[in-house]
Symmetry: C2
Subunit: 347 residues, 2 copies
DNA sequence: CTGTTAGCGCTTTCAT
DNA sequence: ATGAAAGCGCTAACAG
């Protein structure tokens, strides 16, 4: 309110709200601006008496440091950009939570961008976001346009690709192999005795890669007639339910392998409404996180991925890069966080 | 790899990666820096020949405008801060998606902060984030610390509180009344003939307010012995399942009213595993979005909230504020987006 | 430990 | 339609 009065006086004509600056604080504290800056960011470099004067002045003036100016002057934005396909697909929720927890604790802030599974859109977002001079970038997946890769590389900041693995990462890559997952799952289920498979997947690139390598592995074991139903992302219960209908049209397979737990839940619902017992009449396999579904639906099998671990490792990798005096050197990281097949018959 | 070579050449001694600036572009294009700036941001002010020279120079140099500098000079950051309790609770997913769609289209970027339902944490985040000089702030809910409100007010930027309603908004408020929702729901269910109620809620403040006004309204209708089970947020299927167990201990009520669809799904699962038919043996009421659950579980009733509408309205309100020559004036907005009771018996 | 001097890269505000 | 000068608010680098 004191502030508002000031405004009414000050801005006789104009629009600009003139905010309190470092210089104002310095004047009130009776020290040099630089001393205020130090008192705020490196308190160990100033006498505690000075420190107190400054903090008092900060409080008195209601000073809020302008990080735009700080970042410009220091070439350090304390900003990390995170680009995800969507926020609706909750597979990333744990990852983002863990990532942001780690970053926030280290006083980094998060710039979020949603790509909608479109590499083109990702490219535009990268370009726009790089203008903010983030200290690091996190991307979902390893499939990017050439321009995206080039821009990211030119930016010379840590880049983490997550939720996938590749032999040619831009910089750091933390995740697991969707191909390997598909193959292992196929072998696992064959070993369990299943022979009649259906696959229900949304058209998100990683889901499709899992599905394809799953089906290929089945073929290598002479299992060919796999019903493969693809629906548009995002994966919802409704999509799962409709997909199940489509699959069940041609008679029930032994098992339906879904690209996500959400889909799998939709399938469960559809199975229930048709009076099919799971897993006796119809086994259902999901993908995602245990906490979401597997504990709750005793009949549901799933492939568990530790999203929180991916986020935590990403935060740690970034912070390490930020802190280390990485003078020109690169410390590539390739972390396979793995996955676990949670199986109702064996568990 | 090209990247690394370049590094080794260029930075003979130092650490700083010197990037291409407006001045470099101007030199290459043979014009003044200011002309480059205009060509990029207000093309209508430069001759198309000049325009072309500049764009060529931009491409040739790989120039990426430094928005930190731009924002500092122009006092316009093109940044909107969004503070949410969590990203795990998917009730906000649609809202965030719609909000960001709107903002991104207008070339605004989003700074995300997670408060974990803690007003204290929100306060810290607000302080930190205000340092970025965002052009607007979006907050979930209307329950903030005094310091939060004061800082936000002092910032003199549009502030939107969403997913709730209040008579004393900071600035703009877009959502619905959780009290009214609880009351209407109570009256609705009483009218349908229900008498034995249980409530299962997580301890998120808005969920509790819905639950409390629901129960109070029941009491006003002389229904008193309501079982009220509260669990820690976030709401997961597992929490729903456990909560259902706790409730069913004391014999099944006619209906369980849950603070979210996710919880409700957990209750459905538990009911199924006990052989209870829904809604005949046990009716289940959720809360959230239709697409999540109600279309899929024919037995599930729910209160539908249009999260996407909240996000879209928020984006629109912000953009309007940004564009209008809001010279000192305020255009308060109070938008009740309402809710709809989706009922299995009536629908 | 504190102060001074120079910018960071851009845009505003005049001139031309 | 284009240019020149003067900052935006802060911090690096050095001097004391």
């Amino acid at each position: 309110m004191e502030h508002i009065d000031e405004c009414k006086q000050g801005d006789a004509i104009g629009a600009r709200v003139e905010s309190v600056t470092l210089i104002d604080v310095a004047r009130v504290a009776g020290v040099a601006p630089m001393t205020v800056s130090r008192a705020l960011h490196r308190p160990e470099l100033v006498r505690s008496a000075t420190q107190k004067k400054v903090l008092d002045a900060v409080r008195a003036t209601g000073y809020v440091p302008n990080m735009l100016a700080g970042a410009l002057a220091s070439s350090k934005s304390s900003l990390v950009a995170v680009l995800l396909p969507t926020i609706a697909s909750s597979v990333f929720a744990d990852t983002v939570q863990a990532l942001m927890d780690g970053l926030t604790a280290a006083r980094y802030q998060t710039l979020l961008g949603l790509t909608g599974y479109s590499p083109q859109r990702e490219e535009e977002l990268v370009e726009a976001i790089l203008g903010r001079r983030p200290d690091g970038v996190v991307l979902a997946g390893t499939d990017h346009t050439n321009a995206t890769v080039e821009r990211l590389t030119r930016a010379k900041i840590p880049v983490v690709e997550i939720w996938d693995l590749t032999d040619t990462p831009i910089d750091i890559v933390i995740g697991f192999s969707h191909e390997k997952l598909g193959e292992e799952l196929a072998r696992h289920l064959i070993k369990k005795g299943y022979r009649r498979f259906s696959v229900l997947s949304v058209d998100d690139p990683r889901a499709l890669r899992r599905a394809n390598s799953f089906i290929h592995e089945l073929q290598r074991h002479d299992i060919d007639n796999v019903r493969f139903v693809i629906r548009h992302a995002p994966a919802t219960l409704q999509v799962g339910r409709e997909g199940a209908s489509a699959i069940l049209e041609g008679g029930a397979p032994e098992i339906v392998v879904c690209s996500s737990d959400t889909l799998a839940q939709g399938v469960l619902a559809q199975a229930a409404s048709r009076g099919l017992k799971v897993p006796q009449d119809l086994a259902v396999m999901g993908f995602g996180d245990l906490s979401t579904a597997a504990h709750v639906y005793p009949a549901l099998s799933t492939v568990r991925v530790d999203g929180a671990a991916i986020g935590a490792c990403t935060a740690q990798a970034l912070l390490e890069r930020f802190s280390r005096d990485n003078q020109g050197k690169n410390y590539p990281v390739r972390l396979d966080t793995g996955f676990a097949i949670i199986d109702r018959d064996s568990a």
